[in-house]
Amino acid sequence: MTSLEDKFEESKKLGLQIAKESEDDRLMTLSVGPQHPGSGHFRFIIKVDGDYIVYCDPDPGYVHRGEEKMCEYRNVIQNIPHLERPVIHDSNNITYSYSLAVEELVGIEVPRRAQYIRALASELNRQVYTLYWLAIYGIFLGHSTMFMWPTGDRELLIDLLEVLTGARVTHAYNIPGGVRNDMPDGFKERCLRQVRYLQKRFKEYEDIFYNMPLFRQRTEGVAVLSKEDAIKLGVTGSVVRASGIPYDIRKAEPYDIYNEIDFKVQYMKTGDCFARSYVPFLDMKESCHIIEQLLDKMPQSGEVRAKLQPNPKGPPGEAYRRVESGRGALGYYVVSDGTPKPYRVKISVGSFRNMLALPYLLVGQKMGDMPATYWSLNYWPVEADR
């Protein structure tokens, strides 16, 4: 059992000079990002001693838009399209918990069919996000085929979501009170066809990527986040599940109709890069089963949207609701003062919480493990900045 402080001690045993404050001639400071192919809209400053990273300081904020401040100027419905901007690849999930929180505040009953459609859109979107994430994980490890295959297969799901919601990535589909519109005819068959195809492709992904000996060599036993550290750092989503904690909001606190769905929480116990890269993939596989069940159990007809006033407003109060997004728990803390506009909206995103693990995992690693570690944290820079 290694605590976080011990990590620094371990690195010292390697003969490394751990840089905390002072500069040293032996160390080279590198700014990884924001103009770096391996960073995204994000920067972390690292210091390297030879090939070893001895210091890491994340510096987000390059795409900070002030979503929380913007929310205070619009009413609860107007907030939907701009709130999904931080994660356009996962836009159904980031608006999902907002809708839940607003429904709790205003007091709206969501029709049953709408709950199913919401969950369906959310699961499809989780797959879209995870495929994109997986593609980038592939190219971060120099595996260009693994970049192209998920990106190509993601297009099919995007087309599917376009049929459902009318937009390719920014859906604005979840609204307080249900979903914007009903499923089109023949959607169920098309959706099942795509899911079957994906399940076939997942086997090929395993063959070319996860079972590749070079990939195993690069990820197994690298950047291990122990269970105790994971709890202490409060990481979430696939990162915490890779460290041996089977915590999934869908199971822990089932929202909407998730308590009627039969699925397993996917987790691994090693806590290394391989586990962190494999758990989202397992999630995606499980998500296929969830989609099949959702399509099966869905009421065939009914309302998909509760009737709302033009400016929905509830009594003063506050709500904190969470959903399991592609990157982990995504919570909204909404405070209402009785007016149609929210008084305060706080978005607690998985990326922001997982970013905390980055310095602890990177210190003591080799530089070649940097992209594998960084992207295994299931981190989406734009979401963390909000």
Partner: protein, 423 residues
Amino acid sequence: MASYPQNFRFGEFVGSLIWLIFWVLIIVALVGLPLIFIVLFYVPLPPVGDQVLTPYLFLTSILYPQSAIPVIKTLMGTDLFRVAMFPGFTYAALIAAVTIFIERKFLAKMQLRVGPLYAGKIEGILQLIADGLKLISKEIIVPSGADKLMFWAAPIAFVSTAAAVVALIPAAPGYVVADVDVGLLAVFAILGFFPLIALLFSWASNSKYPFIGGLRALHQMIAFEIPFILSALSVVILSGTLNLTGIVDSQLQSYWFIFFLPISAFVFYISSLAELERIPFDLPEAESEIVAGWLTETSGMIYGLLQLGSYVKTYALAALFVILFLGGWAGPMVFPAEIHTPIVNISPIYDQEAANGSLWFTLKTFGVIMLMLLPRGISPRIRMDILLHTGWYKLIVLAFINIFVALALIYGGILGPGGLLVR
């Protein structure tokens, strides 16, 4: 908002074009044409057979192409032809160009894409020309604080070093630029320049990521140089010569060495991948770790030259693999002994052996190049410590195994002078 000047007049634009054409015509008429006449009349041209090549004879070849054949035959005998055309640079650069195109299409098919499609009507075959034009037209940015001389010299040195390797490769019987006795040793000596150029260029860039990339290139190439040479050493033991033409000849007399030395061939293949900085050994250019490695500060044609150099190097190492293990230009004869062509009789310059040899050599080389392109589609990048471990521990041991095999074959009387399997 920098598209066109505010006071744009179409008439002025057309006028400027006409002026441009006018000046080009003036320069051609006053400088170009006199220059051609001076060359034709005053420079002594080489004798062709029994005739002296006069300007008259030269110009008649426009109307009577048959008279140009002796001129071409003479030119083909010169060193200049060998250096510039067939086994030399043009051939290598053409193969490099085809390699780039094949790589893109081949990789695209593996990744369920279409690859280049639009430039050129058929499957984007002109994509390379488009890319080249783009690279030429781009600005070359020299970083502030860079060592300018080194920065400009390195790309040229890279290409010329790659071309120097090509000069030692025989592509057909008798077709080699420099037929030296220590050919194989010279190849390795010249290959040793590449890490130096990479390191100097990365240092001259005055930037951190290129410097890390340069150091990585140095580590990697040194780690793989030794198994590289050791794997070729077993071939030398079998053939008894360092001359590359001699190595091919000894394979023509017995069998291809890949049947005797498969492990050496494997080690040579892996080491040449590392030498070429191709995936999975593209650590010096690992873009998610160190931007583009030692190529980070390159732009425009500097990048183009370095790419050209690396693909020429790919050809050189693939050709070396063919010569060492796949019997060089050995192959069944497919060309007829005599050739009759309708309009122009090219039989004076037709050489059955050379045509057949270069065909088989080119085909085998492309086969090996395809093998070298394959890992890019199926493999992730390796890590530095695994790479060094592979180079220093595993490959050297493997190479030694086949050295002992080769020695056993020689002393067992199976190969070598008067061996059992020598025809």
